[in-house]
């Protein structure tokens, strides 16, 4: 984890929420192309307008506009945000949204408006994890990611969850589903399928475990019965 992300790296992080926390350091020079660049007050504000493309291998980001404020080091992006990160091992993350913001103090990235993340484990992954939420926030130093508002996580056809909020703590590799509404989880495998509701849910990635608490109700259908 880098103590401080540079401007271009920070911009990329706006859209690839999990990348910085994974410690994926950029390998090449960063470039930004756009239809127009405007530098105001000796760089106090820098605007990139029209077909903005930010590139720094292995990151790539498209947006309609980006603005960087020098005094605050805040970078804001707007319009058709489309970010991609591909690791050497073939893991790929795509992030979409209409608005994004990156701040250095504290090191936080936000992504919202039609925001979604998609993750493929490798190039042959045909069942990517898809996360939709109203707002994503990444706290880079803490390595924690928050999804707020109608959070839907899917990995078709075997997993679906709905919750008001979700949190991923990368340090302990745990996903926490919670919020004022009941958490809903649907799982499906060769043995059958199950629908569960509860007040909260947890899933650990290593080892793979799942837990729900608070008035848990479940409906399990064995595959032989279907």
């Amino acid at each position: 984890m880098r103590a401080k992300c540079s401007f271009p790296t920070g911009m990329i992080l706006v859209f690839l929420l999990s990348v910085c926390a994974r410690g994926a350091a950029p390998k090449s020079e960063a470039t930004i192309t756009s239809d127009e660049l405007e530098i105001m007050d000796n760089g106090a504000k820098t605007f990139f307008r029209g077909h903005v493309i930010l590139k720094q291998d292995p990151y790539l980001l498209h947006a309609d506009q980006m603005v960087r404020t020098k005094a605050t080091s805040i970078v804001e992006a707007e319009g058709n945000l489309d970010g991609t990160w591909i690791s050497e091992k073939g893991e790929k993350i795509k992030a979409y949204g209409q608005k994004g913001r990156y701040t250095t103090t504290p090191q936080v990235t936000d992504l919202w408006e039609k925001a979604q993340l998609i993750r493929w484990e490798n190039v042959s992954d045909t069942a990517p994890v898809h996360i939709v939420a109203e707002h994503f926030t990444a706290h880079h130093v803490e390595r924690e990611f928050y999804a707020e508002g109608h959070v839907v996580i899917t990995q078709a056809p075997k997993f679906l969850s709905r919750s008001a909020e979700a949190n991923y703590d990368q340090k302990i590799q745990t996903i926490h589903l919670y919020g004022p509404d009941r958490v809903f989880v649907h799982v499906e495998d060769v043995k059958g399928s199950g629908d569960f509701t509860g007040d909260e849910g947890w899933a650990t990635l290593a080892p793979k475990t799942a837990r729900m608490t608070g008035h848990v109700q479940g409906h399990i259908i064995p595959s032989s019965a279907s």
Partner: protein, 182 residues
Amino acid sequence: MSWRVGAACLAIAACIGLGGCGEKTANATPDVASAELHKPTQVLKDFEMTDSKDSVRTMTLRSIEGRIYEAQNVADVDQPFVLFYTQGVVSSRIKAPVGRVQMDTHEVEMWGGVTVVSSDSSTLTTERLRYDPKKRKIFSKDAVHLEKTDSITDGIGLETDPELKSVKIGRQKVRFKKGTPA
């Protein structure tokens, strides 16, 4: 805004129609008339112009030679060197192989490989640019290359103040130098 033309000129080397106005006759061929038109009215060595606003110097243009064409209201200048001033202090400079000054609008056009260097060492290069003193802006429609401490920008088309503090560049590509802090 006032301009003083040729304040420091050392010599007037040539005058209108060195061949003599009397030679112009009704029988002169179009080629001769055209050649007359393209002769400078005056040739000024160590040409210098100063632009000032409210009695404060804002720009000085120096050239090893300026050729004034009164009919077109322009002066062609060789190796123009322009200094811009902010509150009396040099804030930017421009060098070019060739230039032309519009005597009525006071615009300066320079070409042949123009370099603008600001006081913070930002450097802009382009094939051709135009300075509009009324707007106090530099314009170019050509490819531009801008080097700043933290980045290198290439693009096409430019609008900037002489100090390169407020800059617009079209179809640009910025390369950020490594280690540039946010």
